[in-house]
Structure formats: structure tokens, C-alpha cells
Symmetry: C2
Subunit: 450 residues, 2 copies
């Protein structure tokens, strides 16, 4: 069919919808000879394949007729009970006080984001998110017609001073956002976490401006350094926080299984919205997860993953420290957990140009502007360190440094040719004298020391 | 949280969305002592549990790292290739000419309906569907703001004369529907199939009025009597038919796995819409289905289900024939396949009143008005015969007949008391003089004589 012909049938939403750049990218770079730091993939070494081989046949034998049947839209009761126990033990606090009506099982966090979008966002509703933010969340919000308003992050997560200022500005213009989206722990893509103080401030602001808060929490269990502050859900006293969790990073993504914890009225609304979307989440996945949780093996599984990724994170940071010359003016975050680190290039260097050249050098990453709802961030990029092997991380860091070094050198030559005397040399321009803020990416992401 | 408080945060769509009545009903009647003819559940006897116990561990061993990882939004390539082979063999015709870009894997048909809604329906867009129609489809369409226009069915499926007339009327009023929704084979809920002649007429009308056609085909393989006419997709020459298939009824629903076959431009649009919805469908489900298909066991699995349900259908029809008195004026369809039959009560008898009394007699069904987008059909009901055991079907038919008989008797008494001489007796009013043919089947559904 001629695409132009099909155009007339499209919904308003479909007309403006674009492909998720990362997912398209992942297809492109699945060539074996490219080292990809682009995906958000867990390491297959972390998959509990042997445990599954043991659990699944027995589960089918005992629970096959219910596991394979249609189930309740809200999710398997037994699985929800196991999750309540798990969260009470791991998180304590408010997680000890919730019940089965506070949990909805979803087909992983992406569905939770989609359901929240459908339930809370009408066309042109404003949603506040981080600069940068997880691309899949932005995609879910905009598919429902949201207008996004981005607030900068720094090393302690979303800048609450700027958040408040933004909300005041919006209110002055008659705009009342309904929702604030945050990934408080090891944010995708920036790798930073909200400090406890910021969490409190953020909730206070949400209270004052009457915002629902989406706490997207896929990486919370994957901390390699330090200790987690309480979750937003735990700190919230208004019932306005909607927390999303997933098995994707702690068990495996192919399960497509996550859960939402929220006020029971919110859960009820999400369940109603889920009915026409998929009737119910896979019974097979749910019963496998339930029986896996019953074995009590999740704790050691998470410990295993932490160890695996902690090593990779160390390798990655050390390799970057070794390969990148300070005078290039390249900065990156040093995340305490999660799957990603964030790199800020000197402002003249465009990550899309870098990407094209990196691909020639057989490495890939994701351009940071994809994560910016306002089109900024063209000198930023996201690097994944959970999927590649340590050797690949070292090679990738060296190759990336090689390409960046070439670009710095060329930039120096062209500037020298253009304006030989009137401007300082590029080496000075991008030297450590300039805080990242001056370089244009703002924040401590922007203010990270060399 | 106070529901009234939450109200202010809701999207336009969520404000008007109501709970899926059937799914709510199923929760209510899951009490063990009620015989439920309400669900659309396959029989657990049809689940290939032993095969799965054999296949899954081996599949995890060989393909674990890919099965458990994130996958392409479009679906596993190997699974799509197996489905191409399957459809070429089973259906032939145009299904031999399509390629991998004509298939999208979905989290069962319900997601396919949701994706089509998102891609093609903006608020107030008109969608034409049957009277009655599958409730889950109506829910998916209205969640995106569709205005539904219902066209009556008869024993040969949707009445194409009325369809054309409706489209002319709508056009006169400036309304141009984008989409026509049909379940051509053993329709849910009515159990009827579109005749070959009607299929051709329907496509001709779709061509003239430039409509996309959704062919929802979950039951096509479950024919117990006669032979299938070609599918709409096979007969279509314009590329306007979007066909949806699912493993739910031929393998098991807990897999949550289906596939859409359509023009590749349509598939591409659906895939873009799927990205923010769930990133990808479960790899575990997909690889299990793929390896199951490779065993070549699906043919005998389907044969087994056909045999099982064919017996149940016979039992159900015979039990109704035995239990229902012709003079009550109750009619029901005699489906050649699928999971459901449709019952039409005399017009004075309301299925919701019957339902309340049936529940006391410990049987349940679904009220037919739920399937009518225009609020009609209050004297109709849907009966499932795939899930209950044959003995339960017999008991249910007897109990249902008992309740109906009581209502007929009471109605006769009250009419006799009201107008003792001026009207004919109920026994005459509802006598068997009128065959379904004489009544027209649309009449049988909607204008049934007493």
C-alpha cells in the first residue's frame, strides 16, 4: 500500500508518532562486529536459566491449568502476595502497610507507563520530566498527546529549585501539569540518583502543586556503591506517588513482567484501562515468577547481578579514565548503580557526528539528544556498561577515545585555520577551566570534575 | 485516596471508561458452585501441558539467552517464519505470497485490537461493527474515542445490505467511517459465520466506501461442521484487510501471543505504535511458540480441540433442544464452530432479569446487551460451551430452562391478571409457528415476536 494512501486513515496520534530511535538503532547495530554500548540490555550471564529449567516443568505440572488460562486483569493473586512480602522485606516502611489492592501486575514497566499515560493524559496535558529522561517514557506520554516540560538534572538527580521555578512559570501561563516523571535511582540515561533531601523537596513541591508523581524504579536493586535512600513511595504522605517496578533487570526482560504500587483508587483505574489493552498479562510469566519468588532465590540472584555489573562499571570507568585526555573537556557521570553512564562532550562536538564516526570504528552508543524533550543535549551520549563483556568495554572506551581525539584535533586545526590569532586554542577552549555549565550542558552532570 | 479527588487527574478517555463487564463478571462468578457459561475460556483439557514440559527446558537450554532478552518490537523472526509456513499450508492463496514484513507479533489479539485503535482512531472517528460484537473490541475502539455504528447480523453474518445502507446514511450526514470490524468465523458472541457471498459483498462495499477492514479471527481453526470459506484477507485485492490471529484458542491463552497479517505499511505503523506500549512481546512466549510450531504438533493439537469442543457443542445443542419448550419462543444459533452460541428470548423477557434468577439457580451467562454498541439486545444472551464439562452443560441447560419456564409462567399469569380477555394467551403468543428463517435472523435477534 502506498504510504500516502494509508496516511488518510491514521489517527492524530499515529500521524505524529515517530519510531523509537533506540529500538531502531538496536536493529541496525545488531551486526556482530560492532561493540554496542547503545542498548539497555542486561547481561545474559545474569539470566537464571538453570533455575528456570528446574522450576518451569514442575510449575506446569502443578499449576498448568491455571497458568495457561486467562487470568484476572489485576494479576495473579499469589504473585501479588509474593511481591508484597518481597517489598515489605526489602523496603520496609510504607511497603509494610499496603495490600493486594495496591498492586497491579503489568507486562513490564513500559506497559505501566503506557497505562498511566492513558489514564492521566489527555491531548495537550503537561507532564514534567527530567532533562534527560528515559526515552520510552517520553514516547508513552507523547503517544497520548502530552506536552513535555523538561527540568535539568545534576549529580543529585532532578534540580528541585528549577522544578519549582518551572511549575511557578507554568502556572503563571495557566498551565497546570498533572504529572511529574522521575527515575530516582540510577536514572536512565544519566545514571544519577535523587538525594534524600531532593526526594523530600520533590514531594513537598508535588504536594504544593498537586502533581501525581511517577516513580519509575527499574534499577533500584542494582546498587554497587553506598546505600539507597527511601523510595518516593515510602516518603509520600499524600498517596500521590505511583511506583513502577520490573523483573526485567533483576530476573530477565523476556518475561515482560512488572508491577505498579500505588493508592488503590489509582490501581483500580489502571486496571480498567488495562482491560481493553491486553485483557491480562501472561499467566505463564506470572506463575513462573511467582514460583521463582517462592524459592527465595531472588536475593542471591540480585547479589550475583550486582557483582557482575559492579565489575563492569569499574572496568568502564577505569577504561574511560585511562583513554580520555583531560584537555578534551569530556565529562561523564560515575553512577553508583544501574546500567548506564552519561557523557558530556565539549559543546562544539556533536554526538551525532561522533556517532557516525564511532560506527565506522565499530562501536555504538545512543545520542543524548534523544532523551531531551526540548531538543537540547546534542553534545551528550549514553553509554551502557551492563551488556558488553569487560574486554569489550575496554576496547570500546579506547575506540571512542580514538574518535573523540581525532575530532578534537581536527577541530583545533580548523579553528586555527579560521582564526589563527584572535581565539584561544581549542585545547584551552575545552580545558577544565570551563565548568560544564559554561560548556552548555548545565549541571553537575555538567559539573563533574575531570 | 478519595475517588473524587482522583477524578481531576483523569484523562478524557479514563473519565468515560467503564469496567469490562465480562471480566468483572468472571471474577464474581468464580465461585466453585456456579456453572459458568459466561467466560470465553478454552477448556484446560485442551492445553498441551505435557508437550510444554518437554519443550520448554530444551528451548531454554538452546535459546535461553535470546529468549529471555529484549527482542524486536515486530517479533521474533523465527516465529514469524514459522507462522508464514503455517498459514501458507493452512490457508494457501494470498497467504503464500506474503513475507516477514506482513506479520507483527502481538500480546494476543486484544493487543492487536488496541494497536489498530491507536493507529487508526482519533476521538469521534466512526467505526462500523456488528450488532452484536465482541465486547473487547468495542472496549478497545471506544478507549480511543471511537463512535460505534452497529449493523445487524443474521445467520450468514453481517447483513451487507444493511451495511451499505448504513454507510450511505452516514455519508449523507457527513460521516466517513475509517474502519469496519468483523469476526467472520464463528463470531463472538453470535456464533455465526459470514457466507462466501457476504464476504465478497462486504469487501466490495469496503472498496467503494474506502474502509479498512479488521478481520478478527480467533476461532477460524475451530470448525466442527462444514468447511471454511476463504478469509477476507485472502479475498481482498486492495490491501485493506488487517487480519488478526491468536494462539489463545488453539494453544493456550496464558501465552498471550497473537499475530497480525496485513499490508506492510500497516504492519510498520502498528509496530511504531507498539514501541511505547510494551517495547516487545514476551521472548519466552515467542520462543516457546516457535519451538512448538517446529515440532509440527499444532495440527493434531487443533484436531484434538475440535473433537473435544465438537462433542460439547452437540451436548449443549441437544440439551437445549430437550429442555426448552418451543412455546416459550426462545431461539438460539447452531454454530458450526467456535466457543459460543447465542440465545434470543421473547422480547418481553429481559436477560438481566433472567441473569439474576439464573445466578440463584447457580448458573451464569453474559447478557447480550453488553455486546450491542447501541444499547439494544436486552433480550439476548451469550452461552459458552467450550469450558464446562458435558455434564455441566446438561445441568446448566436444564437449570436455565427451569428459570425461563418459571418466567414464562409468571408472565402468563400477570398478563392474564392484567388483561384477561382482550389478548391471546402467552402460550399462543410465543408459539413455535415462527421459524428463525421466517423471523429473519436479525428479527430473531432483535424483533423476535412473542
Amino acid at each position: 500500500m502506498d504510504p500516502a494512501y494509508l496516511q488518510r486513515f491514521l489517527s492524530d496520534s499515529a500521524r505524529t508518532q515517530t519510531r523509537n530511535e533506540i529500538r531502531e538503532l538496536l536493529k541496525l547495530i545488531s551486526r556482530a562486529d560492532i561493540i554496542s554500548l547503545a542498548g539497555g540490555l542486561p547481561s545474559p550471564d545474569a539470566f537464571p536459566i538453570d533455575e528456570l529449567k528446574r522450576i518451569i516443568p514442575d510449575t506446569l505440572e502443578r499449576y498448568g491449568t491455571s497458568a495457561l488460562q486467562y487470568g484476572a486483569t489485576e494479576g495473579d493473586v499469589g504473585l501479588r502476595q509474593e511481591l508484597l512480602k518481597l517489598m515489605a522485606a526489602q523496603e520496609g516502611g510504607r511497603f509494610r502497610e499496603i495490600g493486594i489492592d495496591n498492586i497491579l501486575i503489568t507486562s513490564a514497566s513500559q506497559q505501566a507507563l503506557d497505562l498511566c499515560s492513558r489514564v492521566f493524559i489527555s491531548t495537550h496535558d503537561a507532564v514534567v520530566c527530567g532533562l534527560p529522561s528515559y526515552l520510552g517514557a517520553l514516547g508513552a506520554f507523547t503517544a497520548c498527546g502530552a506536552k513535555l516540560s523538561g527540568v535539568l538534572l545534576d549529580d543529585s538527580g532532578m534540580r528541585t529549585d528549577l522544578l519549582e521555578q518551572r511549575l511557578v512559570d507554568l502556572r503563571r501561563r495557566g498551565v497546570r501539569p498533572k504529572m511529574l516523571y522521575v527515575v530516582p535511582d540510577f536514572q536512565n540515561p544519566a545514571g544519577v540518583s535523587l538525594s534524600l533531601e531532593r526526594r523530600r523537596e520533590l514531594l513537598q513541591i508535588a504536594h504544593e502543586f498537586d502533581l501525581l508523581v511517577i516513580e519509575d524504579s527499574p534499577y533500584r536493586d542494582l546498587r554497587y556503591v553506598g546505600r539507597n535512600p527511601p523510595s518516593l513511595f515510602d516518603l509520600d504522605r499524600d498517596g500521590r506517588v505511583i511506583s513502577m517496578f520490573t523483573f526485567s533487570k533483576i530476573l530477565f526482560p523476556g518475561l515482560r513482567l512488572g508491577w505498579v504500587v500505588a493508592d488503590e483508587e489509582v490501581i483500580s483505574r489502571l486496571a480498567v484501562a488495562k482491560q481493553p489493552v491486553d485483557l491480562c498479562t501472561s499467566g505463564l510469566s506470572q506463575v513462573v515468577a511467582r514460583e521463582y519468588l517462592k524459592t527465595g532465590g531472588l536475593g542471591s540472584q540480585i547479589a550475583r547481578i550486582r557483582k557482575l555489573y559492579s565489575v563492569k562499571r569499574e572496568v568502564m570507568l577505569r577504561a574511560l579514565d585511562d583513554a580520555m585526555k583531560p584537555e578534551w573537556g569530556v565529562r561523564w557521570t560515575r553512577p553508583e548503580g544501574g546500567l548506564f553512564l552519561w557523557m558530556v562532550l565539549p559543546s562544539w562536538m556533536k554526538s551525532r557526528e561522533l556517532f557516525a564516526r564511532a560506527l565506522e570504528a565499530k562501536i555504538a552508543f545512543v545520542n543524548g539528544d534523544s532523551f531531551h524533550c526540548d531538543g537540547t543535549g546534542d553534545n551528550t551520549l549514553r553509554l551502557n556498561f551492563s551488556f558488553p563483556e569487560p574486554d569489550e568495554l575496554r576496547t570500546a572506551a579506547a575506540r571512542l577515545a580514538g574518535v573523540i581525539g581525532d575530532m578534537v584535533a581536527e577541530h583545533g586545526e580548523s579553528r586555527a585555520a579560521e582564526a589563527p590569532s584572535s581565539e584561544p586554542s581549542p585545547a584551552v577552549l575545552v580545558s577544565g577551566d570551563h565548568s560544564l555549565e559554561q560548556l552548555g550542558w548545565n549541571l553537575a552532570l555538567h559539573e563533574v570534575q575531570e
